[in-house]
């Protein structure tokens, strides 16, 4: 988790068309509704995606993200709403006439064709000249390193190789928009992480717009320029990975991207953006907030586990936020240690500490009384 967060932090957000009101969106979804009987799979959804983005639709299964992707591909028609692609309404255009290609979750390779024929299939449909087909197939085969396998049939390939064929096949037509449906879901962890970076490189090299569907938040955070977090057919929040991680707007988003500690309480004071929350779990807590919060309203103070500092000594009295409890569980991950601290109120907080020295003997052990403290800037105030 923290590795993905540091990666996005390292990326300089110099290119932000979504922040520019004059920029024209490349893909516009306007008030999309998709109903199956009484159930709305997509509910009044609007979204803008800009050219060159690597856009991620993130959410649990059944949240409507795949339905949305299938609408962009043309396999599902919205019940109402408009889909604009480069200014043109494509809601009624069938998939075989859209300048959009999709990489399927199951890869959907043609089992009766060789790797070469699979990749060349789309170009053949467009009546591209034989010599050009050759050249363009060779080019993508190089890009995804499938050279030695072009004469093989899909059943003679490994899962990772099939994934590359599916990618090559969807890239070869150089679509305006490439849709990726859980493209890395079937790969093992090492290969998945390696492929994430390859996908980012390929996108940058070809300058296409990518829309990816995933339920894996680390994957979305690593690759995406922006992420739309979805739930029950709606978009809950759209933002860059860092925005979503550091400034979630709801408990759902905070909990979906990474781990979070939530301390429930009531707002007692709001002065110059410094909000005081009275919580049964830790007394009076201070948190920075720029939103409108009324004293007396219910609120949650959300703090990420890595932003809590842990010590056995009682912190100085000028520390804004401090709670104490007993160490309940310790998880040792090599680079990190995860401490589960049970507060006197009964709630458990999670604190992640980097292991900066080699641990022979733990400085903090089970049942030790510890103090967790954090800065008002490190926490976020959530009202729903």
């Amino acid at each position: 988790m923290s590795t993905a967060a540091s990666l996005t932090a390292a990326r300089k957000p110099a290119w932000t068309p979504w922040a520019d009101p004059a920029a024209r969106p490349y893909v516009r979804l306007q008030n999309i509704v998709k109903r199956y009987g009484a159930h709305a799979a997509i509910d009044e959804l609007s979204l803008d995606i800009f050219q060159g983005e690597f856009f991620a639709l993130l959410g649990p299964s059944g949240c409507g993200k795949s339905t949305l992707l299938r609408m962009l591909a043309g396999f599902t028609e919205p019940t109402s709403g408009r889909i604009l692609l480069d200014g043109e309404d494509v809601a009624a255009v069938p998939p075989y006439r859209r300048p959009v290609n999709m990489m399927f979750q199951s890869y959907a390779l043609f089992p009766h064709m060789t790797v070469e024929d699979n990749i060349a299939f789309g170009l053949k449909q467009d009546g591209v000249a034989r010599a050009e087909i050759r050249a363009r197939v060779d080019e993508v085969v190089q890009m995804v390193q499938l050279g030695p396998f072009v004469k093989r049939k899909p059943h003679q390939l490994s899962g990772g190789q099939c994934q590359r064929v599916a990618l090559a096949r969807s890239l070869v037509k150089r679509p305006k928009l490439l849709l990726l449906d859980e493209p890395l879901g079937a790969l093992d962890k090492k290969l998945r992480e390696q492929t994430q970076f390859e996908l980012m490189d390929i996108r940058a090299k070809l300058g296409m717009t990518f829309v990816i569907v995933t339920h894996d938040q680390a994957e979305a955070m690593t690759m995406a320029s922006r992420i739309a977090v979805m739930d029950h057919g709606r978009i809950v929040q759209v933002g860059t990975p860092a925005e979503l991680y550091e400034y979630p707007e709801t408990r759902y988003v905070a909990g979906f991207l990474g781990d979070v500690n939530l301390l429930e309480g009531r707002v007692v004071d709001n002065a110059d953006g410094l909000v005081a929350v009275e919580s049964p779990h830790g007394g009076r807590l201070a948190v920075r907030s720029h939103g409108e919060v009324l004293p007396g309203s219910q609120a949650w103070v959300a703090v990420r586990p890595e932003k809590l500092s842990l010590s056995t000594a009682s912190p100085a009295t000028d520390v804004a936020n401090s709670v104490s409890g007993r160490v309940w569980d310790i998880g040792y991950l090599g680079n990190l240690s995860v401490y589960h601290v049970r507060l006197d109120s009964g709630q458990t907080l999670v604190s992640v500490q980097t292991n900066q020295t080699r641990l022979i003997e733990r400085p903090i052990g089970w049942d030790d009384r510890v103090y967790l403290s954090w800065d008002p800037h490190a926490a976020v105030l959530l009202t729903h």
């Binding site: 075989y96 979750q105 890869y107 037509k173």
Partner: protein, 269 residues
């Protein structure tokens, strides 16, 4: 669990096989009989097979049977495949249950009734009975077998493959011919072979729908056997048996190979 092969198993297997196949074995054996008497072994000979070549009536009937079988099984395969597609692909349409029931009804329908119904239809339409009516009748009762085989194959079909083809710019019509059909070809071929063998050995429905000049091989064998068994009949029956066994074997091999390939593909994916 593997059980040892013991005397009990051996005896039951032998009895079962004898019960099923002894009459057929006798027919085959006596087709190579030197003697003209059907029940007395007079030594090995191929003379009855030789005599077949000069039996105009038998050769003519065999030719009619072959033409009917090829034409009707081809038509039945086209119609049966389309019906199988409709049943497998459209889980809900008005009258689906009725359609599914009606497609498979000929599987259990008494042949006499099918034959009589067809005869009444042809008479009602004032169709001249003969080659055409037999062929149409055979299409009617063999189509359902093709539908069953094709439907079973489509049940395990990954539709995203077709979607991928359309996504890459292939029209739905063309997708059927370049993606769907090649992938279900083994099932279609074994459906054709099944329809072919059913048509080749049908007697009841053919008898109802035939007319002058259109005598099929089973009809000829039956009428001659009533006049007294001629060893030539044994010989021609043996040949018919050979053709049908070969067709069924081929259909089985096609299906098994397709199944194995599918297993390999799913294992790889």
């Amino acid at each position: 669990m593997l059980t040892r092969f013991n005397a009990f198993n051996a005896v039951s297997l032998a009895l079962g096989i004898a019960f099923l196949h002894l009459p057929i074995a006798l027919l085959v054996v006596f087709s190579f009989n030197e003697s003209k008497l059907v029940t007395v072994w007079g030594g090995f000979s191929l003379k009855w097979y030789g005599a077949l070549l000069h039996n105009e009536a038998l050769l003519g009937a065999a030719w009619v049977s072959l033409k009917v079988a090829v034409t009707s099984s081809t038509l039945a395969t086209v119609l049966g495949t389309l019906a199988g597609l409709a049943l497998a692909r459209y889980p809900r349409f008005a009258g689906r249950a009725l359609f599914a029931g009606m497609v498979s009804a000929p599987l259990v329908m008494p042949e006499v009734i099918t034959g009589l119904a067809l005869l009444l239809t042809f008479v009602g339409l004032s169709l001249d009975r003969g080659f055409t009516t037999i062929t149409l009748a055979h299409v009617t009762f063999t189509m359902c077998f093709v539908t069953m085989v094709v439907k079973a194959r489509l049940a395990g079909f990954d539709r995203s493959v077709e979607e991928a083809a359309m996504d890459l710019g292939c029209s739905p019509f063309k997708t059927f011919f370049v993606i769907t059909l090649p992938l279900i070809a083994p099932a279609v071929a074994s459906g054709w072979l099944l329809a072919f063998t059913l048509s080749l050995d049908d007697l009841v429905i053919s008898s109802f729908t035939t007319g002058p000049g259109a005598t099929t091989l089973p009809m000829l064998i039956y009428s001659q056997a009533r006049l007294g068994v001629n060893p030539q009949i044994n010989a021609v029956s043996t040949l018919l048996l050979g053709v049908i066994s070969a067709a069924v074997l081929l259909a089985t091999v096609l299906e098994t190979r397709a199944n194995r390939r599918r297993e390999r593909e799913t294992a790889a994916a």
